[in-house]
């Protein structure tokens, strides 16, 4: 770390400014600039989403572009009765379940691998670079390779076997790398302290390491879910006889120009806001309860 000791800063520059001290101080101008940037980013992020939300409420004549035609919930109904839009419902269910399984396995696998890499072991360089290779290998080709192997060994390729493995080969490297970043700030001293107090190895991991690393694990879970839910190229050949959602939508784009895709987007957004709202609300409620309990003591 470059060492600019405080002494070398000219006296003229010593101005007292405090940032993030929690007290009732005025926000510096940088706050407003960054807040505007943040707002702009969120707006840009939701830009295409806005089109999706608005256009999903068209009536039966609707297409995928403006100008909007009519106002109805026709496409939402169409989405759930899946008459003309392929098996979107089935694909959606499979994708969600697969993504959940992948998320759980990724968190566990990345966490364990992170623990492993904390020490140098024989072959750790090879494993590391194999992992990087798995991250960057072109999914199309890898998918064909996996499909070929399954065929050769007489195994049944399906979304919960071959596709699951293909997804994990994609999400685990992401997770492990995030774990690296997270664990690099992890203080071994806490573990030492716990050991000194008599904790077993598993107790240390479960009661010390995991809670401290929880935000990192959450990041891994987030990555794992998003990457798996959207995964396309690796899944193309490994999904077996049933399509996941991205595959189904991609296949549909060959002959469908239907706003029910947009209806799906609107529904998933509503569902995610609901879930987030419940989770955050739950956290707030737990905190309040803890506060009242403490104050009661």
């Amino acid at each position: 770390m470059s060492a600019t000791s405080p002494a070398t800063i000219p006296a003229a520059k010593r101005v007292r400014r405090r940032v993030a001290d929690g007290a009732e101080s005025k926000r510096p101008w940088t706050f407003w600039v960054l807040a505007t940037l943040f707002a702009g980013y969120v707006l840009a992020l939701y830009g295409p989403m806005l089109c999706i939300y608005v256009l999903s409420f068209q009536d039966i004549r609707g297409g995928l572009v403006f100008p909007m035609k009519g106002l109805s919930v026709h496409w939402f109904i169409d989405l759930f009765t899946q008459v003309r839009t392929g098996d979107v419902k089935g694909g959606f269910e499979r994708s969600i379940v697969l993504a959940l399984i992948v998320t759980i396995l990724t968190v566990v696998g990345s966490f364990m691998a992170g623990l492993a890499f904390r020490q140098r072991f024989k072959g750790d360089g090879i494993v590391f670079y194999l992992m990087i290779g798995s991250l960057v290998a072109p999914g199309l080709v890898l998918g064909i390779g996996i499909g070929l192997l399954f065929q050769y060994f007489g195994l049944e390729a399906s979304w919960f076997t071959s596709a699951l493995g293909a997804h994990l080969s994609w999400t685990l490297p992401f997770g492990v790398l995030v774990m690296f970043a997270v664990m690099s700030r992890f203080d071994r001293a806490w573990e030492e302290a716990a050991r000194d107090l008599g904790a077993t190895r598993w107790q240390i991991i479960w009661m010390v390491v995991v809670p401290i690393l929880a935000p990192g694990l959450l990041a891994v879970a987030l990555f794992g879910f998003t990457l798996s839910y959207d995964e396309f190229s690796r899944t193309l050949q490994t999904s077996g006889p049933l399509n996941t959602l991205p595959l189904e939508i991609w296949a549909m784009t060959l002959n469908v120009t239907s706003p029910s895709l947009y209806a799906l987007g609107t529904v998933t957004t509503l569902a995610s806001f609901l879930i987030i709202g419940i989770c955050l609300g739950g956290i707030v409620w737990i905190q309040k309860r803890r506060a009242t309990r403490i104050s009661v003591h």
């Binding site: 297409g63 572009v65 189904e248 002959n255 120009t257």
Partner: protein, 451 residues
């Protein structure tokens, strides 16, 4: 949503419904089995489907997996087949390239493969298909001779590209080379086909388009588009250059290296001049480009033109009949192939399915997309006289025309572009293909993309 049937429905169970839930299929299967047991050979269902169900008990547990592109392998058709046949037919949609890769690398995961003519050639060479015994196919003789004999009313169908006739026959069921000429073994059964040309906005282009060279007309600079599939795009381009008189190809569907070079170099030139607004990848992209007015002329597929019209924009499918030895449509044909691993009862079920497919319900269904059935005589039974006249004969509609799901799309008096289907199909200049120089062609197409 109920389909209109020409024939009468003696039994309520056989009324076709587009919406099918799992329990719905079970109920009608039971009903079908009951009627089969009770009325062997005379039941109403059999009047429509005509399939012997003596071994219905055995086939209950069979599931056939039909895999292919979404405009050919339609879920509604699979549901109807499950209903009529008594065993389960599941449809899986993939795009063309993913499908052929699946057939070749994971053949055991597919039962009925949806293949284009040239893909049938590939799959046969790779040994993943088994020959279809022609005499087991009831309607084989009624399939248009364009496919089965390569000719129509004495005129020979174009052999540029890989025509369905060329790709259809093999000498024995496990042969890996195609056979020139009619044999008792087929690689695939044609199922859906069409003749593609260009679509244009008549309100923005004030003249009638009948020649491919209009696509590269500098007057439409920045408002034209072609599609981003190498083997197809290059043939559309070839049709344009031939139409403009710039070059004469020996075989547009199997170009020599120098012909490929000429075509691609001209394309790169046009791209640099800004002729093309985009090369479209997905179906709805082509629809949007046209409907939004981003392009006013482009290579299009027939249902895309229909979709643009449903949005209220006028769009015409240019009739590019062969004249002066130039022009002509680009034809394609998708068909069903049997995977090699099918045997025993499953193979029998597969033949039942193939026969059902050609028996007319599917033909009537896809007609409303604008696709033709290779057995028009059976499709006719499932279309109203008005629909038949409109879709097949090219006559003006006498009543409203509905799309496959019952949505009105054309008013009375509208005429289908390009005339009758005979007129269109006999004017096919070249068929979708896989060239001998495919690797070179791909490379040069990527040059065009990267230019």
């Amino acid at each position: 949503m109920k389909e209109k049937l020409e024939a009468s429905d003696p039994t309520p169970e056989s009324k076709t419904e587009a919406t099918v839930t799992d329990s719905g299929v079970d109920v009608s299967r039971r009903a079908v089995l009951k009627s089969a047991a009770a009325l062997a050979g005379v039941a109403g269902t059999q009047a429509i489907t005509g399939f012997p169900l003596i071994w219905a008990q055995d086939i209950k547990n069979i599931e056939l997996r039909h895999v292919g592109v979404s405009y050919s392998v339609v879920k509604a058709i699979g549901d109807q087949a499950s209903k009529d046949l008594g065993f389960k037919v599941t449809m899986q949609n993939l795009d063309t390239s993913a499908a052929i890769n699946r057939f070749v690398t994971q053949p055991n995961t597919v039962d009925i493969a949806d293949v284009e003519g040239w893909q049938a050639k590939l799959a046969t060479k790779r040994g993943v298909l088994q020959g279809i015994e022609v005499k087991k196919i009831k309607e084989f003789e009624n399939i248009l001779p364009i496919f089965t004999k390569g000719e129509f009313s004495g005129k020979v169908v174009s052999r540029q590209g890989i025509s369905p006739y060329e790709a259809m026959y093999i000498s024995k069921p496990d042969a890996t080379e195609l056979h020139e000429g009619v044999t008792p073994w087929a690689t695939f059964l044609p199922q859906v086909y069409n003749a593609d040309s260009m679509g244009y906005r008549p309100d923005l282009i004030k003249k009638e388009i009948t020649e491919w060279k209009e696509l590269i007309n500098p007057a439409y600079k920045g408002k034209a588009a072609i599609l981003d599939v190498p083997a197809i795009g290059i043939m559309d381009a070839a049709l344009c250059f031939e139409s403009a008189g710039e070059i004469k190809y020996a075989n547009k569907g199997n170009m020599t290296k120098s012909e490929i070079d000429f075509t691609i170099n001209r394309l790169i030139e046009l791209k640099k001049q800004g002729q093309f607004r985009a090369t479209w990848t997905t179906f709805d992209q082509s629809v949007q480009l046209m409907a939004a007015g981003e392009v006013i002329i482009q290579s299009m597929w027939s249902p895309a033109v229909a979709a643009v019209r449903v949005k209220g924009m006028p769009c015409i499918y240019a009739p590019v009949n062969i004249k002066n030895g130039k022009e002509g449509y680009r034809g394609w044909c998708n068909g069903m192939a049997l995977m090699k691993h099918l045997s025993g009862k499953k193979l029998d079920a597969a033949y039942e399915y193939l026969n059902w497919y050609l028996s007319g319900w599917q033909g009537g269904f896809v007609a409303r997309y604008g696709y033709y059935s290779p057995v028009p005589s059976t499709a006719k039974k499932f279309l109203t006289a008005n629909e038949w006249d409109y879709w097949y004969e090219g006559k003006p509609a006498t009543a409203e025309i509905l799309d496959p799901y019952g949505v009105p799309m054309e008013k009375p008096g509208a005429k289908r572009d390009g005339g009758s289907f005979i007129e269109r199909v006999t004017n096919i200049s070249c068929w979708n293909t896989l060239m001998d120089e495919a690797q070179y062609m791909n490379k040069r197409w990527n040059d065009f993309k990267a230019a």
